[in-house]
């Protein structure tokens, strides 16, 4: 009996090692991470002979891994910098970008706040501390509680780049550790302002119109909503047609892939 169990386990192990011979290694952004993980799950369910591993070490490290040849796909929430391109060229690596999804950052306030529209400049001034009371932008006489994501996150990096224009967020800003925590703080604090991914907007918080445009999948896709960015996966050259990597980086073009992207709160690149 014991022997039988042991041998079945052994056989299973052998079978697994034989079957999963191909691996795709992904590394990079924590923002793109959820997409990559969802894709990996979907992909491995379809192709049991391919093993996909996803690590999240930040966009910069993703680029480094691709250049050093330690990963097949680099997930990045920003385009590659020219310094990274030249480092890649030196090593004979040719980075090719695949835009897998779009991401918008709604500005959130408490649902009881009468303010429903701000300009990008006003948002910047609020985060710089130049505007410190809601009455300065047509709201009640209340001090603004400024809430930001922690400086580690891709969300913070995007916000810093697209809204702050190289200026530093004021010192009185509060920092929280996740998009969920932002929503929690905003929905319970009447004078708060914060930002989070599109997937985190629900009835308990109010997303503001920025420059007159309400953040939604449609306005992000057309580029009307100003705080939005593409999310990338980089490969070394365009992958060989039909290879596992090729099939992986084209998932987002399929109907299923677009549904996955939407499900985890991002905007698909194309509408089906």
């Amino acid at each position: 009996m014991k022997k039988a169990v042991l041998s079945t386990i052994l056989m299973a192990v052998v079978a697994l090692t034989v079957v999963a011979e191909e691996t795709i290694v992904l590394d990079g952004s924590t923002t793109v991470g959820p997409i990559a993980k969802a894709f990996a799950e979907y992909f491995m369910a379809m192709h049991s002979d391919v093993n996909v591993t996803v690590s999240e070490s930040g966009s910069g490290n993703g680029a480094k891994s691709l250049i050093n040849g330690t990963c097949d796909v680099a997930n990045m929430s920003r385009p590659m910098k020219s310094s990274e391109f030249s480092a890649a060229a030196e090593k004979g690596i040719q980075p090719v970008a695949h835009v897998v999804a779009l991401d918008g950052l709604p500005i959130l306030v408490h649902p009881g706040n009468p303010v429903s529209e701000l300009t990008l400049e006003q948002v910047r001034d609020i985060y710089l501390g130049n505007i410190s009371n809601w009455k300065q932008v047509g709201g009640p006489d209340k001090k603004i509680v400024v809430i930001s994501r922690d400086t580690n996150s891709g969300t913070y990096e995007t916000f810093e780049k697209m809204v702050m224009a190289k200026k530093k967020i004021c010192e009185k800003a509060e920092y929280v550790g996740s998009n969920g925590a932002i929503r929690q703080r905003v929905q319970s604090t009447p004078a708060a302002i914060g930002y989070a991914g599109l997937g985190f907007v629900d009835k308990t918080v109010k997303a503001l119109k920025i420059n007159g445009v309400y953040p939604s999948g449609a306005t992000v896709q057309t580029g009307e909503y100003p705080i939005a960015r593409p999310l990338f996966m980089y490969t070394n050259g365009y992958p060989k047609l039909g290879s596992p990597v090729h099939r992986f980086v084209t998932i987002h073009l399929s109907e299923d892939g677009q549904e996955i992207v939407e499900e985890i709160g991002f905007v698909p690149v194309t509408a089906y």
Partner: protein, 394 residues
């Protein structure tokens, strides 16, 4: 309790000893084997103990190893004197003064909450409550230590912060009145007694009443005035130093209570009975004999409580607001602050350790400062406890 259990042990132990046929004198080989076994056991215990001691040294070594490159890269000046904390900025700024300040004020707040509460609870447990009640109350207080800190953090963020935001003034006023009321009552009673003592015998009774009423009314007016003032305060953000101080104070409470209760117990029955024999009341015995005798133990309890508060991470990361800034007037505890532990935990994720950047090493520099501080505190409390033992002749 004790004699009872002794009898039980004897009962259970004696029959097998009598029935065994083992001779009392061992032969040489058994004795050698036994000695070898003893040596082996000793060696094992020694290596386990030295392993845990070595761990401490290794922690020091590895944190220092990653902390010093920061000072080599950036120097000491900015780290200790600037309040600007922009580790991801371009150029990056690594001023940690505001963060050290945040840790300091939050810890002070926690001490202000936990020490008065904890020490009075310990006195109550050791000298006031009857034995049976103590058996129930102490374990209940110690349950506080078993609650995971993320649960405290969740409570602070989801329940306490909104409460402070929506009913901040009322909460503050209620808290202040609760704290002031017993103090003021004591003060009025003592002061009216003192006044009455100065009057002649005939007037004494009347004078005590009048003084008590007048002083009581004054105290009541003062309390309502302060309550009104506090009640008018509006708290913009509930994630602030006050919130975290109160929660950390509650978290440090079991440490303070049980260590200082042990110290009070260690003062001994003979000391208390000596005091009673000299005609002291219970209050006099507690205040003039027991507490002074166990003062150093209580101090050690306070230091342990401080260390509990200073090292706590999850609660401060979730509920202190994490704004790296020294509040408006520095004592304004209604503003968000950022602490060392929260910064280390929050910035560890993407601090680029591949390139060995300053952004990575600065966290270790902070960790090293924390470690050095708690090491010194530990030494101090150890010294105090040792001195107190000597003083009590144990």
């Amino acid at each position: 309790m004790l004699p009872h259990s002794k009898i039980k042990i004897q009962n259970s132990m004696t029959p097998p000893l009598q029935s065994s046929k083992r001779s009392l004198v061992m032969n040489a080989s058994t004795s050698r084997l036994r000695r070898l076994g003893g040596l082996l056991g000793q060696g094992f215990l020694f290596s386990v103990t030295s392993l845990s001691t070595l761990t401490v040294f290794f922690i020091f070594y590895f944190i220092a190893k990653d902390a010093f490159p920061f000072f080599k890269l950036e120097g000491f000046r900015e780290f200790f004197t600037s309040t600007r904390w922009y580790p991801s900025g371009d150029p990056a700024e690594f001023g940690t003064m505001a963060i050290f300040f945040g840790t300091g004020i939050v810890t002070l707040g926690a001490v202000a909450v936990s020490v008065p509460l904890g020490v009075s609870a310990a006195v109550c447990l050791s000298d006031v409550l009857p034995f049976n009640a103590r058996q129930i109350v102490k374990p209940v207080i110690e349950i506080l230590a078993a609650i995971p800190s993320v649960a405290y953090g969740f409570f602070a963020l989801v329940v306490f912060a909104p409460l402070l935001q929506n009913h901040g003034g009322a909460v503050l006023a209620a808290g202040a009145c609760l704290m002031m009321a017993p103090l003021l009552v004591l003060l009025v009673v003592v002061a009216s007694d003192l006044i009455a003592d100065r009057c002649s015998d005939l007037m004494r009774r009347k004078a005590r009443w009048v003084a008590g009423l007048v002083l009581g009314a004054a105290a009541f007016t003062l309390m309502t005035y302060i309550g009104r003032q506090l009640g008018a305060i509006e708290i913009a953000s509930g994630a602030n130093a006050l919130n975290v101080s109160i929660i950390l104070g509650i978290m440090a409470l079991p440490t303070v209570v049980s260590v200082s209760e042990d110290a009070l117990q260690a003062a001994g029955r003979d000391l208390r009975e000596g005091s009673y024999a000299l005609g002291a009341t219970r209050a006099e015995t507690i205040l003039k004999t027991v507490i002074p005798a166990s003062l150093s133990g209580i101090l050690a309890a306070v230091i342990l409580g401080v260390m509990r508060a200073i090292g706590e991470t999850m609660v401060v990361w979730m509920a202190s607001g994490n704004a790296a800034r020294i509040p408006g007037p520095w004592y304004n505890v209604l503003e968000p602050v950022r602490t060392l532990t929260a910064t280390i935990a929050g910035d560890m994720g993407e601090a680029d350790h591949v390139t060995g950047s300053s952004r990575f090493h600065v966290l270790f520099a902070m960790a090293f400062c924390l470690l050095a501080f708690s090491f010194v505190m530990n030494l101090v409390s150890e010294g105090i406890v040792r001195r107190s033992r000597k003083k009590l002749g144990k």
